[in-house]
Symmetry: C2
DNA sequence: GCCTTTTTGGTCAGCTTGAGCATCGAATAT
DNA sequence: ATATTCGATGCTCAAGCTGACCAAAAAGGC
């Protein structure tokens, strides 16, 4: 449960890969797909989508490919997920912040909306640069990056 | 994306309803289903599952039904979701904490696992009692309930 | 000027997963 | 003991997502 889509995962992986190779002016979808062993055609669509939303710059032709449109530190994981999968809400009620149609049902949505906002805040505080920088799983005395308060 | 299952939603709603009616020794699945206008047979399955995991006590026969096995303050939203949908992970890699099979792919899983833990912490800090208490959507100067630190 | 490389867009089959329904079994009150 | 009420189990159907194929446009290199 509460899983991220494979598309979102692939998108994050691709952006991380781009952030790790700033020396390359552009990387093709196939290069990234081969590097991670993920389906190339699916990744291509994801990158196209991210290009449309403005996170990436595409360059067709030989030696073409994709490149980050901004600094990796300025791109949050939230943006990527949001652009790929659309706005996410914890509640099954697909409606944004309105109540569940006509039924007086979901009195739980409201507190869960707070949780939703908290999660969104956490994702917003994480940048692609953070993902790329995270390498050695041992010995990382980093300071607290985000401190999220949940006021129920 | 990142939605909760309808089952989990229904389960939370049912527990909230039980917490709001402590005077009743037991409430039938049909009563709760009618109160919220949700499919009765589906809710029955959910309540049965929660009974199996120990969150609820069932009482068959006439005037039977379900009741909370513990105080509503001692039941967290995390438990409910976990018992219904199983352990959730943000990453698509269904494997628990191991890496993605053989590929050196998911270097992003690790930081996302932190996010996952953060979300779990938030859900653990919310009890069924909190859900039931939350009534008037206006004027609730409540103190901060959970303060979650995310160390990336 | 032609050709290769790479993006772009549309379409479609296969599959996993969740939603919902019908039936069978158990327990209690009269 | 019987009938009613409720819980348990199994099954079917639909939807969303994944993944792939194909054709066309764009842009640089020879």
């Amino acid at each position: 449960m509460l899983k991220l889509t494979k598309k979102a995962d692939y998108g994050l992986m691709a952006l991380k890969y781009l952030a790790e190779h700033p020396e390359m002016p552009a990387l093709s979808a196939k290069d990234i797909a081969d590097a991670y062993g993920i389906p190339a055609q699916l990744l291509a669509k994801i990158l196209q989508r991210l290009t449309k939303t403005g996170l990436l710059r595409s360059h067709a032709g030989m030696n073409g490919g994709y490149a980050l449109s901004r600094d990796a530190r300025k791109i949050s994981a939230y943006e990527v997920i949001h652009d790929i999968d659309g706005p996410f809400f914890i509640t099954s009620c697909t409606k944004g912040s309105k109540s569940c149609e006509l039924t007086p049902s979901c009195t739980i949505k409201e507190p869960l909306a707070r949780v939703n906002d908290t999660i969104a805040g956490v994702l917003k505080s994480i940048s692609i640069h953070d993902l790329a920088e995270y390498e050695s799983p041992a010995a990382k005395p980093r300071e607290a990056h985000g401190l999220v308060s949940l006021t129920l």
